[in-house]
Amino acid sequence: MAAKSSYLTSTIGQKQIVALSGLSLSLFVLAHMLGNLLIFVSPEAYNLYGHALTSTPLIYVAELGLVTLFGLHVLIAVNLTVKNSVARPNKYAVAAEGAKATSWVQKSLFIQGLVILVFVILHLITFKFGQVYEVTYDGTTVRDLHRLVVEVFQEPGYVVWYFIAMVVLGLHLSHGVSSVLQTFGAAHPRLTPVFKKVGLAYAAIVSIGFVALPIYFYFIY
């Protein structure tokens, strides 16, 4: 028994880092989605929520944490994808059908990741670093994100792209959330099917919560 092992470079260790960072990001998107829904309470509630988040110095810690998690998730996933692709240099001429097939959702995880990466960059440009409108509530001037959201979601191109990106995010989560437990070793004949359902429900809730905004502002507002 001589082979050397290093957790951080091993496939299992790297999968676990991808899983843990992915799980943290899943919690972030859930929180983000719930925050977005405040827009249905009132423009003021939404704007003040945004102001409360960005006006504390803790936002820098949170942003640094998010960037780190996102960066780790992406970089290690890219590294693993390269390893996986090297592990099968010659592809099969035919893909399996029926019982032995792999679902297209799991085959396209990397492409889903790329779509989400592009979306996140554009999303930050549009909203975080986008047009700044201001509004004053009780003497406090805050950023009028509500107005920006309404404007952006009047553009059909942006609405379609946002919708597609959120469906892709949902697919990504539908694999990821339930997969975390298997990657960390919590498989169980009775509980694993329950985890799978929880993962699917989580993905659906996040996805639907996010697309509610563009659909509402484009078709109803």
Partner: protein
């Protein structure tokens, strides 16, 4: 053929032919005529090979031995599925009645960098042997057979260890995985020792060593797709991979600095 229920099938085969490890491979089409539906898939290839030899051509190279689903020799990917379309069987247990008359069957070798092609459909699976050599055994002296029940093993653990030990090391898990990962094989080999008292002494070191060797051989990572378990002729459970993942995590945390 009188007296048998078998009917004759005519099939078109597209078989991967590759003269050697460093040679260029390609698909070659063959007509398989008058094949009994009672024949096994390997017997069908035997019939083709007899014709090839008679006409002075090289027969199709493929691995086979026991032909009863227990040795793990036969491999090949049939229409994209390792060991063919049925679950819980090896290629030798696949019968031609599973195919329709006139059907085209695409036959490829297991494809993975860690399983280099030797010739045609035969691949070199010695990467699995090297993984076993770094820890797939018990080297501590376990003494003579103990008195019955002096070493308690819960029935459930005995069953799970036995199920894991049914792995025949055929490599279909690697062939089926989109990443050519060997996780199911390695986890089965780890599990059948990790679940029994005799395997405890070396459990952590065994996990670290076998996982390190698995990575060293160039197998991919696990995406938890379950394709391996679906293709496994012994239907080894994905739960074993979870056990390996948690044992590896724990062993990595507890690992002491290099003893040199």
């Amino acid at each position: 053929m009188a007296g048998t229920a078998g009917k004759a099938l005519n099939l078109k085969l597209k078989v991967w032919r590759q003269a050697g490890p460093d040679k260029e491979g390609r698909f070659v089409e063959y007509e398989a005529r008058n094949i009994s539906s009672d024949a096994s898939f390997l017997e069908m290839l035997d019939v083709i090979n007899v014709d090839l030899v008679k006409s002075g051509q090289e027969p199709i190279e493929f691995d086979h031995d026991c032909r009863e689903g227990i040795c793990g020799s036969c491999s090949m990917v049939i229409n994209g599925s390792p060991h063919g379309p049925d679950r819980g069987t090896a290629t030798c247990q696949l019968h031609m009645r599973r195919f329709r008359d006139g059907e085209t069957i695409v036959i490829e070798p297991f494809r993975a960098k860690a399983f280099p092609i030797v010739k045609d459909l035969a691949v070199d699976r010695s990467a699995f042997d090297r993984i076993m050599q770094v820890g797939g055994f018990i080297s501590v002296n376990t003494g003579n057979a103990p008195d019955a029940n002096s070493l308690p093993v819960p029935k459930e653990n005995a069953d799970m260890a036995f199920a894991a030990a049914t792995c025949i090391g055929c490599g279909a898990c690697v062939a089926a995985c989109k990443n050519a990962s060997a996780s199911l094989f390695v986890s089965a080999k780890l599990a059948h020792l990790a679940l029994l008292p005799q395997g405890q002494a070396e459990r952590e070191q065994r996990t670290l060593s076998m996982v390190a060797q698995m990575d060293e051989e160039g197998f991919g990572a696990c995406t938890n797709t379950g394709a391996c378990s679906a293709a496994c002729p012994k239907e080894i459970d994905l739960e074993n991979i979870a056990r390996m993942n948690r044992d590896y995590f724990k062993a990595s945390l507890r690992e002491r600095s290099e003893k040199s």
